[in-house]
Structures are given as C-alpha cells and as structure tokens.
C-alpha cells in the first residue's frame, strides 16, 4: 500500500504473517527484532554517545518542535499584553467580530 510519509525506521522489517516465535511470545515482535526504539522518524536503534543516533528527519522534527514551542511562548506573552494594555487604555477588552469567535458557554 502506498504511503504519504513512511516514518517507520529502517530497522523494522516487513515480513507478512506471523512467525512461530511470535506465537510463542504472544506479542508480534519478529518485524521489530532489529529495533530498540521505533518511534516515527526515529533512528530505530539505541542511541550512541550523546544522542549521536539522532540524525536527519528526527533531528529536523525535534527542532521544529522547539521552534513551535518558542513561538507559542512569545504568542502567549504578546496576546495577554495586548488584552491587558487595551483594557488599561480604553476600559474595554479587545472586541473581535462574532464570526471569528466560536459561540461558547464561557461568553459573558
């Protein structure tokens, strides 16, 4: 079957059906026997010294997460500052068009 992003690490084999060993162990491990970690985009092996195993896609993914986290923190600070200063200056919280804000039980 074609995939959009095949993120399974290379250590995973793709033997169809189960093996006799798998039946004995109850968990289907045969396709994972060459792996330690097998997370999406991961290197599929035990890391070497100092995380040396994390290269390529997984390193990229991790850095995307770090950047998004930083953006989130900046956005939190900016957004709250915007609301607080707007109230301090005008006496009203910023009003958004009804179409932008979802109806909410929190509405006052």
């Amino acid at each position: 079957m074609p995939a959009i992003i095949n993120s399974a690490p290379d250590c995973i084999t793709h033997n169809e059906k189960y093996s006799a060993d798998d039946i004995a162990d109850f968990i289907l491990q045969d396709n994972y026997k060459d792996c330690a970690g097998f997370m999406t985009f991961g290197p599929g092996s035990t890391y070497g010294d100092g995380g040396a195993g994390a290269t390529g896609a997984y390193m990229t993914l991790t850095w995307i997460g770090i950047v998004v986290m930083v953006i989130v923190f900046v956005a939190w600070v900016w957004y709250e500052n915007h609301r607080l200063t707007t109230f301090a200056e005008t006496g009203h919280v910023p009003i958004h068009p009804i179409e932008d804000a979802p109806p909410s039980p929190s509405a006052q």
Partner: protein, 489 residues
C-alpha cells in the same frame, strides 16, 4: 542413574517454574486491568461534573442523573450482547464458537452463558478484560450525552446509549480494533488507542441524533443566528474535564495488552509491541499541544481551551504507540485548533445545537486522528498479518466508521421521534427538566435564584425567560418546530 534422576527433577522444576510464572503473569495482568477499571470511573465522574456545569440551573439534576444511569443502561446490554459482538464479529460477519476462524476461541468467551464469565480458575483475564471494555462502552455513550442536554428524554437517551455503547462502537471495534478484525488483517488499519473507534464513531452517531432532536428552544433567532445559554457553573465544567483527563491515562493503559512473561511485555490491541511509557508520553504531549491549540484558536476562551486538550489527545490517540513526542505535540495542537473551528462551523453555519461541542471535539478529532496516522505514521506492520499502516487503510476506516455511526444514530433517533419519544414536551423544556422529573431546584433556599440570562448573537446579555416564553408561544403556532432551525428539516 543418579544423573537421569536429577535431570528428571530439573525438568519437573522447570515445568513447575513455568506454570507458576504463567499464573503470576495472569494475576499481575488481572490486577493491572482491575486498577485501570477503577481509575476509569473518573472519566464518568468527570462527564457528570462537566455536563452539570454547562447545563442551565433548571436542568442540573436531570443532567447528572442521565450520566449516572448511562452505567445502568450500558452494563447489562454490553454483557448480554456487546461482548458477543466484539468476539464473534471480527471477520466481518458473525461466527460461531466452533468456527474455523482463528478468533473462534475468543468467541467462546463472548457468549453470556460462557463459564468464562464467572470465577474461573483457568481464566483470570476474560472478566477483567470485559470490564475494561465495559468502561470504554460507558465512555462512548457518555460522549453523546453532553450534546443532547436540556431537551432529550431520559428514556430515549438510555436507549440510544445502549445502542451506541453496546452495539455500534463495539462492532467497529470488532472490525478495526482487534487482532483478528478484517480491517486490520487485510488493510493494516491502525487506531491503537481508539481515536475513531470510540470518539469518531460516537461523534458521528451523535450528529445523526442531533439532526432529529433539533435545537433547544431559543437557541437560534429567526434569522438562524446562535444565542449562547450561560452555563450553570463553568468552574465545575473545567474540573470535570480535568477528571476526565485523569481517567484517560487509565483508558490508555487499558488499551494495551499485557504479557509480562514475554519481552517487552506490552503490546497494542493489534499485538504489535509498544511501551506504557510511550503511550503515556504521547497522551501528555497531546494535552500540552491540545491546550495550546485550543487557547489560540478560541482566543483564550476557557471552555474551548480545556476542550482543546481533549481534542488534542483524541487526535494523537491513533498513533500513540509509535509517535515521537514532538510529532504528538504538533499534531495535537493542529487537531485542537481544527476542532475549535469545526465547533464554530457546526453551531453557526450548520445550525446544529451541540451543547458541549461533542461532534467537533470527539467526532472531527477522532477521524482526524486516524488520518494523521496515514499521513505521518505509515509503514508500521499492524495486526497478525503484519500489513503496513497506510493512508488508504486509514481512509477505509473513515469510510466504514462514519456511515456506521451516523446512519445508526440518525435512524434510531428518527424512530424514537416518530413515536414521539425522543424529546420532552416544550412546556417541560421551558419549565426545566428538574422541576418535572426530580426536584424543583437543587440548591438550598439560601442560594437565590437569579433570573436566567442568555447572550444574543450581537453579544448583549438579556433575560432569558421572556424570550423563551415568546419562543414557546411561536412554537405552538408553528406546529412544534423551533425557529431558526435549518439542519435536518
């Protein structure tokens, strides 16, 4: 001679050791699932709290009773036919306990008169596994309950809850959430912690019911714009969601298969390996990303921020056995934001009165969850045939579960509506369900009853009673159809 004797003794010791080890493993597994069942009760305490907080004061007790009685409705129905559906329908069509299909052994334990349903010294797992699934069934039914608040009949809801909790979701679980399910065996369908299997199907079922149930009186203006009914206690609603989140960890844990004598000891429902730490990591990052996405999409609205956490977790559940933490964080953030916009669209454009946003949070996020696996986590061998997960297998899941949930919900509620058994009379709805079915007011006389208020589409706060009474008069003149209603008519 001595050597032969000693060798025989060693053999006996090994056999005894293996047998006691197997029994230890069974006892450990039984204990694990027992404690997940206990902690999953928090999900239902949470649903009761959450919905009671959203409801208007005149409907608080009716809301709470509806959640409590969900347990009374789903438990016997799941025992008498739900477990049979799961264990004897995995190939697609029902099989018998003596079938040649490899799932027939499980089918034997699914029959209500099976001796695996009582104390059984050779089977420590069937009962406790059944109970874990029973708690999943309660959860599936409870997802629907919040959407129908304040106008559905208790009895109609209990019938629908039994249908959803003991037939519809467990049938899709037999097909796509089991080691022997045809969707997994043939197409590698992968939904490890039941994104669509529980949440997606429940959301679709709920949407079908809402089409027939109709909105609350006064919810929409004549022009079809949505008003907001103020919640009875928003703090209790937030607390309820936090209780649900606590119970969700046990839900996640109970979705795993444990085999403590086999390394690594943990497997998904598809018997592929994973770890308890991995899925716990994903659910936690799901909350973090979900709260973040919900907060920004709703501009800091408390209800949608916390609901975003739930949506985020549901969005990452399908791939929780394999997702990297960063991927879980990003996916949950996107899913929560999309759920907020979906909730807005459903309420304003679709004119579907979903009181708690269940269709958006559970339905949309649930189906998005399995699509994310197809997009970001393809290539993982799934099920006993080790068919790789793929976007096509996941889309098959959407194409199967969406109509299964929606059509059964729509049809069942349509039947109830035709018999005039779905909705309370408008006079009862205006007076409040508590007044008619329980006590006039749950609060002591020292807590004064403030005039009920609602928020008009332009943001102005008005007294609710005159407006609702006017709507009631118009309802009677219009032949019983609330104004502004569009969908389903």
């Amino acid at each position: 001679m001595i050597d032969v004797f000693l060798a025989q003794v060693e053999t006996l010791k090994d056999a005894a050791s293996a047998e006691s080890q197997t029994l230890d493993s069974a006892i450990l597994g039984e204990q694990f699932y027992f404690w997940t069942v206990v902690v999953m009760w928090l999900i239902h305490a949470g649903f009761m709290t959450y919905e009671a907080g959203v409801a208007r004061r005149k409907n608080v007790m009716a809301t709470a009773m509806k959640n409590i009685l969900t347990i009374a409705s789903v438990t016997p129905t799941f025992y008498y036919f739900g477990w049979w559906i799961y264990n004897c329908n995995q190939p697609g069509l029902p099989i018998g306990p003596n079938s040649s299909d490899f799932t027939s052994a499980a089918c034997q334990g699914g029959i209500p008169w099976s001796d695996a349903f009582g104390p059984n010294l050779t089977n420590n797992i069937n009962l406790i596994f059944f109970l874990a699934f029973l708690l999943f069934s309660w959860t599936t039914a409870s997802i629907m309950s919040g959407a129908l608040l304040e106008r559905v009949r208790l009895s109609a809801y209990l019938v629908l809850a039994a249908l959803l909790g003991s037939v519809v979701w467990i049938l899709d679980a037999a097909w796509g959430w089991s080691a022997g399910g045809w969707m997994t065996l043939r197409f590698g369908f992968h939904d490890s912690i039941a994104s669509a299997v529980v949440h997606g199907v429940s959301g679709a079922f709920t949407l079908g019911v809402l089409f027939n149930l109709g909105p609350r009186i006064g919810k929409y203006t004549k022009e079809g714009l949505a008003r907001v009914f103020r919640p009875n206690n928003l703090h209790i609603t937030l607390l309820g969601l936090m209780l649900i989140f606590t119970g969700f960890y046990a839900f996640y844990g109970a979705c795993l298969v444990i085999a403590s004598t086999a390394f690594p000891g943990w497997g998904t429902i598809y018997l592929s390996p994973t770890t308890l730490g991995s899925i716990s990591m994903v659910i936690t990052f799901g909350f973090a990303g979900g709260f973040t996405g919900g907060y920004f999409a709703s501009r800091g609205d408390p209800f949608w921020t916390v609901s975003g956490g739930l949506a985020g977790v549901i969005g990452v559940s399908a791939g929780a056995d394999v997702y990297a933490p960063t991927l879980a964080y990003l996916i949950s953030m996107a899913t929560a934001a999309l759920a907020v916009y979906a909730g807005n669209w459903i309420e304003t454009k679709g004119r579907v009165d979903d009181v708690v946003g269940a269709v958006a949070v559970h339905g949309c996020s649930g189906f998005l969850g399995i699509i994310w696996v197809g997009v970001f986590a393809a290539g993982y061998p799934t099920g006993v045939n080790n068919v790789d997960s793929s976007i096509w297998g996941q889309l098959l899941g959407v194409a199967t579960f969406l109509p299964l949930g929606f059509l059964t919900g729509w049809f069942a509620s349509w039947l109830l509506k035709k018999m005039n058994l779905l909705r309370v009379p408008p006079e009862v709805e205006v007076a409040g369900l508590d007044t008619v079915e329980y006590v006039p007011d749950i609060y002591l006389p020292e807590v004064p009853v403030k005039p009920a208020q609602l928020v008009e589409p332009d943001g102005t706060v008005v007294d609710a009673d005159p407006l609702i009474l006017q709507e009631l008069l118009e309802l009677r003149a219009n032949g019983g159809r609330p104004s502004g209603e569009r969908v389903g008519r």
